[in-house]
Symmetry: C2
Subunit: 243 residues, 2 copies
DNA sequence: CGCTATTTTGAGATGGCTCAAGCTATGTGG
DNA sequence: CCACATAGCTTGAGCCATCTCAAAATAGCG
């Protein structure tokens, strides 16, 4: 169990706690519990009672949602500093998503009640949380629009670009997406099948845009990928309107 | 210009201001500006500077987002008591969506700065806003999953059910969706084309599920529609995974 | 009462899904 | 250290839900 001061040091740079003075940070730190989650294990599951808010310190988490029929989509990938489960702040609700560690994770946790109290205590936290969730909403809206109006290839390009931002790791030959990432996963992020992802990635590999390995994707030509994502060449969009 | 007490009376039942005492409500009311927007006109447009937060008092607003190529999706419909433009609370951002009045609207407005100050002043508002945005996020995530995994017919059924909740008006023969609603609009809500919407609605009309008129849709058999939406009969889902 | 926006319908094209099968890393137990 | 098992990846062939485009029918509105 680390010292209080160490916890404070770890949560200080977290966006959720931006603007807090030392006293407030200490109060937050004192209320924090530490959690570790093995790769593949879960922070929480969809439809279970939302009882805790997490802030990720180390590792990476995949947020998914699935239908009763078992079809799944990946909504988001969260890295260090990110918040999980804002829903828990409000009483009696269930998590709308499942949060699965894609590797070993270390996180801080607060019960929903505790976090609510901390927010009342210190408006900055509530405001920061609002900013975070608002940003997430924007992102989700954008992805919704993409899914509704863009072709698969562009969506996959967009997804990779997002992943670079969230988990990009500069290497000698390009930018590695630093997490295990199957074609299945990419399909679930973009609303398509692993087969289609495979074909697209293969083509891009032949064109020298990306490097593909088992659960590993490296971006070799970001500009080229961005060009596909924003359509600086082929057939624009479709569907919804031709106003 | 109505009396302060009248404004207080109007904003008191708004979810964003739930839990405020009279003094706080008065402060909020004093800072409020009133706005009226004609049918078809805009509260704000995508990509313009997000400078104000609105709370709708009367009317109905359509939130849309469009691509550079001009393809548009409808993200949400907001009715009385709803909040518009939470983004404005945070400095220097642009509205991610366009807010268009689908009929004459009356609303209260606060500059982003003012609303931020009110939130600092009174944590309840920030917490209420967080709850609102979190709920929106949940909704958006769910719709994303739907779009990624369900067939058009189910999505349209879901959209109508949502619209009933937001703008349903009980009549003698069924529930009228009380706003002008073209097939184009429904298509933009569900990620399909007006042609497909027309065919689906026509079929449902023949089956006695809905009544269709020019920009008017009435639900005659909610149960039947819900059955389609949750698939109590025909071919489940597709795409994304067959894990 | 004509104009314009909306809705309907048909016919044809197609992107991407499905299913089936083989291939290949990686890890595991002998 | 090898052989096998497993999970992930690739590829082909066929299909089909839905999009496109075109055109006619309809309904409000000025």
């Amino acid at each position: 169990m680390p010292e209080l001061s160490e916890i404070v040091g770890r949560i200080r740079p977290v966006p959720l706690f931006r603007g807090l003075d030392s006293a407030a940070l200490q109060r937050v730190a004192r209320a924090a519990e530490q959690r570790e989650v093995e790769a593949g294990h879960f922070f929480f599951r969809q439809d279970s009672l939302a009882d805790a808010v997490y802030v990720l310190h180390l590792g990476r988490v995949k947020l998914t949602q699935s239908t009763p029929e078992g079809h799944q989509v990946v909504l988001r990938v969260v890295g260090p500093g990110g918040m999980l489960g804002p829903t828990a702040v409000f009483d009696g609700l269930q998590y709308p998503t499942t949060a699965q560690a894609v590797r070993w994770c270390q996180a801080f946790a607060w019960s929903g009640k505790t976090m609510a109290a901390l927010m009342e205590d210190c408006q900055h936290i509530a405001l920061n949380a609002l900013g975070d969730v608002t940003a997430q909403l924007r992102d989700q809206q954008e992805r919704y629009r993409e899914l509704a109006t863009e072709h698969v290839e562009r969506r996959v390009a967009q997804a990779l670009i997002r992943l670079v931002g969230q988990a990009g790791w500069k290497t000698e030959d390009g930018v590695l997406i630093d997490m295990p990432l199957s074609h299945q996963d990419v399909g679930e992020m973009t609303g398509t099948t692993l087969y289609t992802v495979s074909r697209i990635l293969r083509r891009w590999q032949r064109d020298g845009l990306v490097g593909v390995g088992r659960q590993r994707i490296t971006i070799l030509d970001s500009a080229g990928l961005a060009a596909i994502a924003s359509d600086l060449k082929n057939g624009s969009a479709r569907r919804a309107t031709h106003s």
